[in-house]
Each structure stands twice: as structure tokens, then as C-alpha cells.
């Protein structure tokens, strides 16, 4: 327990936060890299997922991609890409995007897929075009699961960005590895606690966002359930129901 006190003392020391490699810089780096990665991944995955969910084509590929991504060891991907691109930011960003895409893809797809067929037929019946069906019916109803995908992707990227410091000079992981190398347990523990705090704060914010985008009128627990469980693999399936039951 004394080590926790040491870590706290390290965190409470102002000079550890300032300067070039200080905790503040590392924290901002961590957030910037994670944001960049999730942004790129979303631009790739969300339209694709919505398309798959809307047309029903390629769903096997999506499910396969989601479960294959879980099996691939993140550290292996990080080091492999880093060896190919050299030391720098490109390696981790590419590897992290590859890791973030499946969760987002599965979330977008599962969300659109979970929309009741009857609702979509009704939208067509009142004369909506396909684009309108997607934008004004499917997307709003898909939002909770879509944000669920965003949530698990963000979580994974924030966690793996820490690991990315093994191959690149970036983020809070840098502090952790510096402490490990110098055998300074207080630095190691302090940075570990920072990462945990960051992850939990982001998790909380995204859970809140997920609750906000859940349509109030719909009580989708019953009919949305089977569709969600069509991806037992994705974290989306594991996490989303939390909001309903709690």
C-alpha cells in the first residue's frame, strides 16, 4: 500500500506534470492519438457498417472480421507494423486503426440490422427514399448500438495506445515504460493509475452519450436482443445491455 502513497506523491508533485516529457504532455498526446485513431477508424467503418446493415450484404464478412480481430494479438500487430514503418507515429496509428475498425463496424452494422423491418417498411410506405430511410429512420434507431461500438473502440484504442509507447515515443505508456526501465515503481504505478482513470472517465462519458442517444419511445430490450446477440463476439454485444438493465 505504501507504493500507492508513493505514486500519489508523484502525481501530486507539480514538476512531474510540466515540461517536455511531463505527465500533462503525455496525457494530451494520449488523447490526441486516440482521438485521431478513432476518427480515422470511424470514417472507414461507420459508412461501411451502415451499408452492410442496410443492404444485408456482407454480414458474414463483418462478423468474421470482428471475431478475427479479437484473436489477433495487439502487441504483435503493433510491433509488426512498427518494424515495417520504422520508429514514429505512423506505425501505432495504422495498427490502432486496424484494431478500432471491427468494433465500430460491428456496432454500426448491428445497430442498423436491429431496426425492426416493419418500421422500415412503414417508412417506405409513407414515401421515404432509400437515403431518407437510412438517415431519418435507421440511423437514429441504430444510434445506441453505434455509440456502443464507438465506446468499445475508444476503450480499446486508449488501452492499446499505452502499449503503443513500446514502439513509439508517445502517450502515457511512455512514462510507464520509463518507470519500468529505471525500476521506479512510483512512476510506473502513477502512470498506470493515470491510464486507468483516463479509461474510466472516457467509459463513463461514452456510456452517458449512449444513454442520451437511446430513443425514449422505444423499449427495444425485447426485439433488439437477438440481433445484438448475433455478434456474441463483439464487445458491443457484451456491453450494450448494461444501460438497459441498470
Amino acid at each position: 500500500m505504501n507504493l500507492f502513497l508513493d505514486a500519489w506523491r508523484w502525481l501530486a508533485t507539480g514538476s512531474n506534470w510540466t515540461g517536455d516529457g511531463g505527465a500533462a504532455t503525455r496525457l494530451v498526446e494520449h488523447l490526441l492519438v486516440s482521438g485521431l485513431v478513432v476518427g480515422i477508424a470511424a470514417i472507414i467503418a461507420v459508412p461501411l457498417g451502415v451499408l452492410v446493415g442496410h443492404t444485408g450484404r456482407g454480414r458474414t464478412a463483418v462478423v468474421l472480421a470482428a471475431s478475427a480481430a479479437r484473436a489477433v494479438p495487439t502487441l504483435g500487430l503493433l510491433t509488426l507494423v512498427a518494424l515495417a514503418t520504422g520508429i514514429g507515429l505512423t506505425g501505432p496509428v495504422v495498427a490502432l486503426v486496424v484494431l478500432a475498425v471491427p468494433s465500430l463496424l460491428a456496432g454500426a452494422y448491428a445497430g442498423v440490422e436491429s431496426v425492426d423491418r416493419v418500421t422500415i417498411d412503414a417508412a417506405r410506405a409513407v414515401g421515404m427514399t432509400e437515403a431518407q430511410v437510412v438517415r431519418r429512420v435507421e440511423l437514429p434507431l441504430a444510434a445506441p448500438l453505434l455509440v456502443g461500438g464507438l465506446r468499445s473502440a475508444t476503450l480499446q484504442v486508449v488501452a492499446t495506445s499505452t502499449l503503443a509507447a513500446y514502439t513509439a515515443d508517445v502517450g502515457l505508456g511512455r512514462l510507464l515504460f520509463a518507470g519500468l526501465k529505471a525500476r521506479e515503481y512510483d512512476v510506473m504505478l502513477a502512470s498506470a493509475l493515470l491510464v486507468v482513470a483516463l479509461a474510466l472517465v472516457l467509459e463513463g462519458l461514452l456510456a452517458l452519450l449512449q444513454r442520451l442517444v437511446t430513443p425514449r419511445t422505444a423499449a427495444p430490450a425485447e426485439h433488439a436482443r437477438p440481433a445484438r446477440n448475433a455478434h456474441p463476439s463483439s464487445t458491443v454485444a457484451e456491453k450494450s445491455p448494461t444501460e438497459r438493465t441498470s
Binding site: 509488426l80 513500446y166 456474441p232 445491455p241
Partner: protein
């Protein structure tokens, strides 16, 4: 290739170490998660707090946990016990939800019937509830089997030996083939263990064997609240019927 021919004894060693770290964690996760999931499902007002709790646990990144766990429970930093505890934490975090869903899929009427024919709560659990929850639980075990095997490799950056050592060593020495070998072997080990889990499931739950070919659809039918078997069996047909309709859009 030359690297592999020179180093394969070490690779075999790491493969076995990796296996020895993964299996205890998977078993421990199952043993802890089943009672927890059961209480979450049956304890009044427990489901919410338990599921939120494991959700937060799951949110904690693994690398920091490798640092925090030794301080909390006093294991050495670079030890297999630290590794197994960390892996078990994640396994439990995922599996408790599966277990709760699995027990939720057992119809209350069935449990009432079991009680009516004279089962005690204990024997009803072992002979009625657990077998019926089995397929959904199995799906959860498959998920944590694969993720556990993958997660073991992270320990390599703080110095816990496993196939992940091939990543750190390969990265430091610039041997791309070594890293690639690690990835392939980890995925292979995950597939192997997943296969064993499926096999164990078929041996323990012979009644699911008939629908083994539609495993994917089975799982989707699994957590249906009402748990009527008709619905489970109807699912694949429904899924098939939906296809042409979707394609014509």
C-alpha cells in the same frame, strides 16, 4: 525460415508457457463467473450493480493492471501468478455477463416445474438450470478463451515470458519473421483451444449436437427470454428467409 529452424526449441517452450498461462486463467474465470452470474440473475437488485461492476473492470486497460495487481496482492511483478490473476480479472469481467444472460435464458416455468417434481434448489441448479444455460455459457467461454490467449502476449513488455516474447524480441532485433511467427502461433493456439471448448461442450451437452452446424444462429437464439426451443430452431430459417428480401432492396 532460417530463424525458425535455429530457434524452434525456444518457440516450442514459449508455446507451452503460453498454454500454461492461458488455461488456468480460463478455468478460474469460469469457476468465479458462474456463481457471480447466477447471483446477478437471481439476487434481487444485484444484476445492475454486478454488471456495472464487471463493465468497469473490463474498461481497465491491461498494461496498467500488470503494474497494479502485484502491488495489491503482493505477487512479484514478473511472475506467472500476476499474469494469471490479470487474465482471470478480464475473463470474469466478460463471462459474468454471459453467465447472467445464460441463466436469464432458462424459463422460470421450467425451474418451477423442477421444484414441483421434487428437485431441491441445489439439484435443480446442477440438473436443470446449468444444463439449460449451457449453450449460452459456452459461447461466453469461447469468447474469453480467444481473448485470453491473445492477452497473454501483452505481458511480454514487462518481462513475463510467453509467445509475446517473440514480439518484443523480434522488434528489438528487427526480425519481422519472428513477430509473424508469434502472431500465427497465438492465433493457432486460440483456434485450438476454442476447438477444444466446442468439443467439451458437445460432450457435456450432447443434446446440442444436432444443431451443431448452425452454431452461429444458435447463439442468437440462445438468450431469447422465453427460451422456447421452437424459436431457437426457427432462427436459421428466419435468417435465411431474410436474405433474399434484403438483397432485393
Amino acid at each position: 525460415m532460417k530463424w525458425l529452424s535455429q530457434n524452434y526449441p525456444q518457440v516450442v517452450d514459449l508455446f507451452l508457457t503460453h498454454l500454461a498461462l492461458s488455461v488456468p486463467a480460463i478455468v478460474a474465470s469460469l469457476l468465479i463467473a458462474v456463481p457471480l452470474g447466477w447471483s446477478a440473475q437471481h439476487g434481487r437488485g444485484l444484476r445492475g450493480p454486478v454488471l456495472v461492476g464487471v463493465g468497469l473492470l473490463y474498461a481497465i486497460p491491461s498494461l496498467p493492471l500488470f503494474i497494479i495487481v502485484p502491488v495489491l496482492i503482493g505477487t512479484p511483478l514478473r511472475s506467472s501468478s500476476t499474469m494469471i490473476v490479470v487474465l482471470t480479472v478480464y475473463g470474469v469481467a466478460v463471462l459474468v455477463r454471459s453467465a447472467a444472460d445464460a441463466f436469464a435464458s432458462v424459463p422460470a416455468a421450467t425451474l418451477d416445474a423442477a421444484a414441483a417434481v421434487g428437485h431441491t434448489r441445489w439439484s435443480s441448479f446442477w440438473r436443470v438450470e446449468l444444463p439449460l444455460a449451457g449453450p449460452v455459457l459456452l459461447a461466453g467461454v469461447r469468447v474469453i478463451t480467444v481473448s485470453t490467449v491473445s492477452l497473454v502476449s501483452v505481458g511480454a513488455v514487462i518481462g513475463i515470458q510467453s509467445l509475446g516474447t517473440l514480439f518484443t524480441d523480434g522488434f528489438q532485433r528487427g526480425i519481422r519473421f519472428e513477430v509473424l511467427t508469434g502472431i500465427v502461433l497465438i492465433v493457432a493456439l486460440a483456434v485450438l483451444l476454442d476447438g477444444l471448448v466446442v468439443l467439451a461442450g458437445r460432450l457435456l451437452m450432447p443434446w446440442t449436437r444436432r444443431s451443431a452446424g448452425i452454431r452461429g444462429s444458435r447463439r442468437r437464439g440462445g438468450p431469447g427470454r422465453r427460451g422456447d426451443s421452437g424459436r431457437v430452431l426457427a432462427e436459421p430459417q428466419l435468417a435465411g428467409a431474410a436474405q433474399p428480401e434484403g438483397a432485393s432492396r
